[in-house]
Symmetry: C2
Subunit: 465 residues, 2 copies
């Protein structure tokens, strides 16, 4: 392992901070919303922008990879040591939908620097966390005097993560030879808090479905017909209302099949975290907790599978009243999965469950978006320990603790196809407001991300040999 100077890394980062932020702002201006067809061209523009920027960073290879949906970006920077291990960094360049009307204080696609924070859709999820690798690898080279990274470095930045990564697995399978790696670093998660740096050891999986229910051919008078024909809004409500039992367990039969229970050791580690429920509720902008009986809040969001109503709609939602039986209703549900659950089996269970609730006289379309597998990395994996050491340097020797991530990413597909361990390196904090109005990233933490990345390749180059 060559000698990496902490102060040289910091000096380099300080010198390039403003240019780095300026470039990130330019990228954040591109509204790469993968869920909205009208932004398809923006997602393509975002990919082109990133590929060009990666070439400028020094990656000899930086390509836009088309998919059946939105394009991904692949980049590669081989080590000059042929025996060096290969590491693949994963992130995404698409973002959640965002509109001023949702409660943003300013245009979500006109980034705003204020009070040490950068506000924009994608600032934390995930453009900021992808982008810290660009300055990170430059700082690694500058501080070590290398002309190429200490590992064969690859980047795969997809464009459909916020839409459930429908074409990601196919892409990874088709390009498996070019993506081959000894370890995968996922930079699409967060850490405990500004003051408690953590490494995440797993992500939940996701099954995402939409149920469109059709009743009368048009809205009909609820006085004339009410009580005698089925109402699709009522059926949507019955489905959503029956999602959970009285213990807030998911009531879809078969849903829990295969779930790996959380072990006593990890429960103890979670319990040691400085969890302040009142503060957490502040971040969740919520005034009470509610979840599966027998589990703590952290266990519920990290280690237990859940079901959530993301959207429901039917009938008249305007001012005043309208005494109708609506002609249609819509229900958007997501299920979060944990290790041991198979998304395909959950889809089958959900399909059976929906069919059992829909009465004669209601037609329905049940569609699943692409699912995401859950994944989990053992706490004692040597590469995980590398990440912990690099992060420890960036955080001035603070103890690095462990969390899991309640959200979902296609990390498990990379693990499946590439047969490589998946590690998580993220610096976002819960208050960053992922998927919410006024998403932001803390600039100090963003630079800690740069610094961790700058230290990581040297350490990992040794750990993975």
């Amino acid at each position: 392992m060559s000698d990496t100077s902490d102060s040289a890394v910091r000096t380099y980062i300080r010198q390039h901070r403003d240019a780095f932020l300026g470039d990130l702002v330019e990228w954040l201006r591109i509204p790469s919303v993968s869920a909205q067809p009208e932004h398809a061209e923006d997602v393509r523009r975002s990919a082109d922008w990133l590929a060009a920027r990666l070439r400028e960073t020094g990656f000899p290879v930086a390509e836009v990879w088309p998919t059946a949906g939105a394009p991904a970006v692949f980049a590669e920077w081989p080590s000059d040591d042929p025996g060096a291990p290969t590491v693949l960094v994963y992130g995404h360049h698409d973002v959640q939908p965002a509109a001023l009307a949702d409660g943003w204080y300013s245009d979500p696609f006109e980034p705003r620097l204020e009070g040490g924070r950068l506000y924009a859709r994608g600032a934390a999820d995930d453009k900021g966390q992808v982008f810290f690798h660009t300055l990170g690898v430059r700082a690694h080279l500058a501080a070590t005097g290398r002309t190429a990274p200490a590992v064969h470095l690859k980047l795969l930045i997809e464009g459909e993560e916020e839409s459930g990564s429908p074409h990601f697995r196919t892409l990874v399978e088709e390009q498996a030879h070019r993506l081959a790696a000894d370890a995968v670093i996922v930079s699409d998660t967060g850490m405990w808090s500004e003051t408690t740096p953590t490494v995440c050891t797993g992500m939940r999986g996701l099954v995402d479905c939409e149920i469109a229910l059709y009743g009368p051919g048009q809205d009909i008078h609820s006085g004339s017909f009410g009580g005698a024909v089925p109402n699709p809004a009522t059926v949507a409500a019955r489905l959503a209302g029956a999602l959970h039992d009285a213990d807030e367990r998911v009531a879809v039969p078969g849903f829990y099949d295969g779930v790996v229970p959380i072990g006593a050791a990890e429960r103890e580690l979670f319990a040691e975290l400085p969890f302040d429920e009142a503060e957490w509720l502040g971040t969740a902008k919520s005034s009470g907790t509610l979840g599966e009986a027998g589990y703590t809040t952290l266990e519920r969001i990290w280690a237990r599978p859940t079901a959530e109503v993301n959207g429901i709609g039917g009938g008249y939602q305007g001012a005043g009243g309208k005494t109708i039986i609506p002609s249609s209703a819509l229900l958007k549900l997501t299920f979060r999965l944990v290790a041991g659950q198979d998304p395909d089996a959950v889809e089958v269970a959900v399909s059976r469950w929906v069919a059992g609730w829909v009465p004669d006289g209601i037609r329905y379309d049940l569609t699943f978006a692409a699912s995401t597998r859950p994944c989990l990395t053992p706490l004692d994996h040597p590469a995980l320990q590398s990440v912990v050491r690099a992060m420890g340097k960036a955080f001035d020797g603070q103890k690095i603790r462990f969390t899991r991530e309640g959200g979902s990413g296609p990390a498990a597909d990379l693990q499946d196809v590439l047969k490589a361990p998946v590690l998580f390196l993220g610096i976002s904090v819960p208050s960053d407001g992922w998927h919410a109005p006024n998403e932001k990233v803390e600039i100090d933490l963003l630079l800690k991300g740069v610094e961790t990345a700058a230290h990581l390749w040297e350490d990992l180059g040794g750990a993975l040999r």
Copy 2:
């Protein structure tokens, strides 16, 4: 009773048909949507228009009566026989919301005459059925040679019926001395079909509520927080999903208190009606029936109380997915009441039921619009028999049968305050599409309404003495 010539009535109607329809079209062009604040001025304009038209018709008194909401129209035409009974006609000049986007084939406020039908919002509910009284009273005078009607005729045409008549009872109480009547004729219902004329004997009451549910202060990430905080869309769904039990009975405790059961005689009369469920489903634009166990479809919509979801909304309803816990959700429910149920008691029961479903961490606002009482007139009432005779003349001697009305109107308030029996005279048919896109009225039936009204005053003048 003076001599009324059927053919004189018909001749007069034929001569004035086109002018009558032209005037109605003019009125239908005014979008008097009481539920939408942006149409408040249109509702006022509708009242002014009607008052002016009633004066032209010959009513010596025609006034716009302001209320705390939308204005009503009152008109009076005394008989020249001081001993004649007084009859009050009730209807409404406001209409349901309507927009092209809801599925109208043409502008709902640009009336379209096609195939013997007049298409427009309000054509049947209720402007057309109010308006047939204008030509009706003129035909009555023309055919009998009278210069004033055979009864002291009063009209009260309110402007907030489609908004639950929030100020109607107050208005009736305040103006009880001017509204005093020996009978009330409500022209805001329908009949069985084009070929089976019927008289309605009762209307269901209405309790209308909106439940706004508030969870997180903004939409939050369902991966990061899902399964640990209450979701207002889920709570809205749980409420709506718990509205009915497995027998499709309303599951709100206490809801059925006081319900007058439907008698065996009326069940038999209903069963004699030429009810074709397949045809009825066609009118309901539905492909299956669903309702309270143990009752027929007609009994369910006419004689049993029900609960209906008119609207539900929360979270993301656009294209694609958005993995959020929404910050709020909305539920619009209406309950139809039958004789014996007290709207105030139902509101108390609903309030208790809602409170029992809302968990800690969810705040809610439950608001009730003004309620409407149920009402029912005995089948053997002499004034009801008058209506049957007048209608029999208009329908060429056909047997007039009995129905009830599943919808609601403020008829019971008139009955309560004025201590007068309430009779129903309506010529609308189920296919008219009340509250639905492409509402229409059959012009032939509209003219039968004119004719019935033309015969009614003479007969009723005798029957009520």
